[in-house]
């Protein structure tokens, strides 16, 4: 556990050296925030009522929490593990006393932490300052929202980790990565709230891990999901976190066997 925390802190420090990049990320996220907020407000004005449980202040909260968490949750994936599998460096990871999946998860949590502070916080403050934005309605929303954000980071990491490990068997995982990124981007609730989707698309989204990566924490923090519903939103995330981490362990073990048989 101590090693885990050390790795989290290392991930935090490693990514905090790119201050200018964090600021640049905030700027871009904010520009997208302005545009998306305008679109959602125009849609609500056109409908004349709330859509899918979102009124103007919660829609604004949806937009800015989404932009704030965009850098925190690694939606677009990473290639580090894939590259290490390809070069065979992953063998070195197996020799370490900590499970590779946990080691990379720790690093990613550290990365998420600095991004939340350096990139998310300014965006959410800007949104709250310039728009009529719904705050988290209660202390419960704050606390469960925070837990939900951590779970979102874990789910996104665990999914990407599995995809990365496919490099043990596939020469080129680019196609799968692209497919994961595009479907994920659409279904996680980054562009538009999942409740706005037509019935069939919403069903697909609900059976996928993607809403657990963004939509669920946003719903809790924006106050669209309150009371007992919070428990089920978080439970879904826990399910996906456990399922994907477990799958990752299985795939990792299979990959290790393959490595031992082939000698890298």
């Amino acid at each position: 556990m101590k090693t885990f925390w050390l790795l989290v802190r290392a991930g935090f420090r490693r990514h905090s050296t790119y201050r200018l990049a964090l600021l640049a990320g905030t700027t871009t996220n904010s520009v997208f925030g302005f545009i998306r907020a305008s679109i959602l407000l125009a849609a609500l004005a056109s409908a004349g009522t709330a859509i899918g449980g979102y009124d103007a202040p919660t829609a604004i909260a949806f937009v800015w929490w989404g932009q704030a968490l965009l850098g925190t949750v690694n939606l677009w994936g990473f290639a580090e593990v894939k590259d290490r599998v390809r070069t065979g460096d992953i063998a070195v990871d197996f020799l370490r006393p900590i499970n590779p999946q946990l080691a990379y998860l720790a690093g990613d949590l550290g990365r998420a932490g600095i991004n939340l502070l350096g990139r998310g916080l300014p965006a959410i403050l800007l949104g709250a300052l310039l728009f009529d934005m719904a705050p988290p309605p209660s202390a419960l929303s704050w606390v469960s929202g925070a837990v939900s954000v951590v779970l979102a980071v874990v789910v996104a990491f665990a999914g990407n980790f599995v995809i990365n490990l496919l490099a043990f068997w596939l020469v080129e995982i680019r196609g799968i990565t692209l497919l994961w990124m595009i479907t994920g981007g659409l279904l996680c609730g980054l562009y538009l709230p999942v409740p706005w989707f037509p019935e069939w698309l919403r069903t697909i989204a609900h059976w996928s891990p993607f809403p657990s990566m963004l939509q669920n924490p946003i719903d809790i923090l924006a106050g669209r999901v309150v009371g007992a519903d919070i428990a089920s939103a978080v439970a879904v995330q826990v399910f996906w976190a456990v399922a994907l981490l477990g799958l990752g362990q299985l795939v990792l073990r299979a990959g290790r066997r393959r490595l031992e048989v082939q000698g890298g």
């Binding site: 790119y18 200018l20 990049a21 600021l23 640049a24 990320g25 700027t27 871009t28 904010s30 520009v31 997208f32 302005f34 545009i35 305008s38 679109i39 407000l41 125009a42 849609a43 056109s46 409908a47 859509i51 899918g52 080129e172 680019r174 196609g175 692209l178 497919l179 595009i182 981007g185 659409l186 562009y191 538009l192 706005w196 989707f197 037509p198 698309l201």
Partner: protein
């Protein structure tokens, strides 16, 4: 003229050849950009699943705006989108290699890559444009056709100018290169919208500062024969080439400042 352009033709052809070498990943990449185009379209479509009118446009009109801006953006992205990768070129020493070749730096950089995979997104845009133009109620005339052609050309020029300006600024911003995404990719996102969704200050920004309103919305108002409003009167559509020229003037300035800075500070 053709002799003058031969180096660039050869450079671009070589880039195309290089991408064809890895056919499997090339096809994957094309499908990827089709996916990106479809995801962008899904956003428009999902909104119109909930409302009938957005920012004064019905679905067909919004589809036209989406198509025009995506067409221009994917063309610009295909030809000069790599300009905003400048820090990578600097780190690889590629910029220095360009300096010791007898061609203008910007022209070399522009022709140093050609992202053919973007034809995927381009195709989505073309299909959307065809559907929009055939289903919308348009009073066709020679003027409409000229305006559409003018819009695609000028829109591509405007996005190219944004990428060029981004490249110029990145000589200064090496570590903060992502800053320019705010107006290249952000500009593209803004261009896809009915400008009426924005409050006036933002509309003025996207019309007169970063002129992406000219890429699709302002011409679409004229093409569809809509009344327009105070910030988008139909006649303004004919000023699109002017907006492109101004964007290029500023892009040229950014580029000049950037290269001066590079030669002055040494990268």
């Amino acid at each position: 003229m053709s002799e003058r352009l031969r180096p660039y033709r050869v450079l671009l052809a070589s880039r195309a050849r290089a991408q064809m070498q890895y056919r499997a990943s090339f096809v994957t990449d094309i499908l990827g950009t089709v996916g990106v185009g479809l995801a962008e379209f899904a956003e428009v479509w999902v909104i119109f699943h909930n409302v009938d009118v957005l920012g004064g446009l019905d679905f067909t009109a919004a589809l036209l705006v989406f198509a025009l801006s995506n067409l221009a953006f994917s063309l610009a992205d295909m030809f000069v989108g790599h300009l905003d990768q400048l820090p990578r070129y600097i780190r690889a020493g590629q910029v220095d290699a360009f300096y010791v070749r007898p061609l203008p730096l910007l022209a070399q950089l522009m022709t140093s890559d050609l992202s053919l995979r973007r034809v995927g997104r381009l195709t989505v845009a073309l299909v959307a444009l065809t559907v929009a133009l055939t289903t919308a109620d348009i009073a066709w005339s020679v003027g409409t056709v000229v305006l559409i052609v003018l819009t695609v050309v000028s829109g591509t020029a405007i996005f190219s100018a944004l990428f060029t300006a981004a490249g110029g600024l990145q000589f200064f911003l090496v570590d903060g290169a992502e800053f320019t995404n705010a107006f290249t990719y952000g500009g593209s996102y803004a261009a896809q919208q009915s400008q009426q969704v924005f409050p006036d200050p933002l509309r003025i920004f996207w019309t007169f500062v970063i002129p992406t309103a000219f890429v699709a919305y302002i011409p679409a108002v004229a093409i569809l024969g809509l009344p327009g409003d105070h910030l988008a009167p139909p006649w303004l559509a004919w000023c699109t080439p002017l907006a492109a020229l101004l964007a290029w003037a500023i892009a040229g300035l950014c580029w000049r400042l950037g290269t001066r800075h590079y030669q002055g500070a040494g990268g």
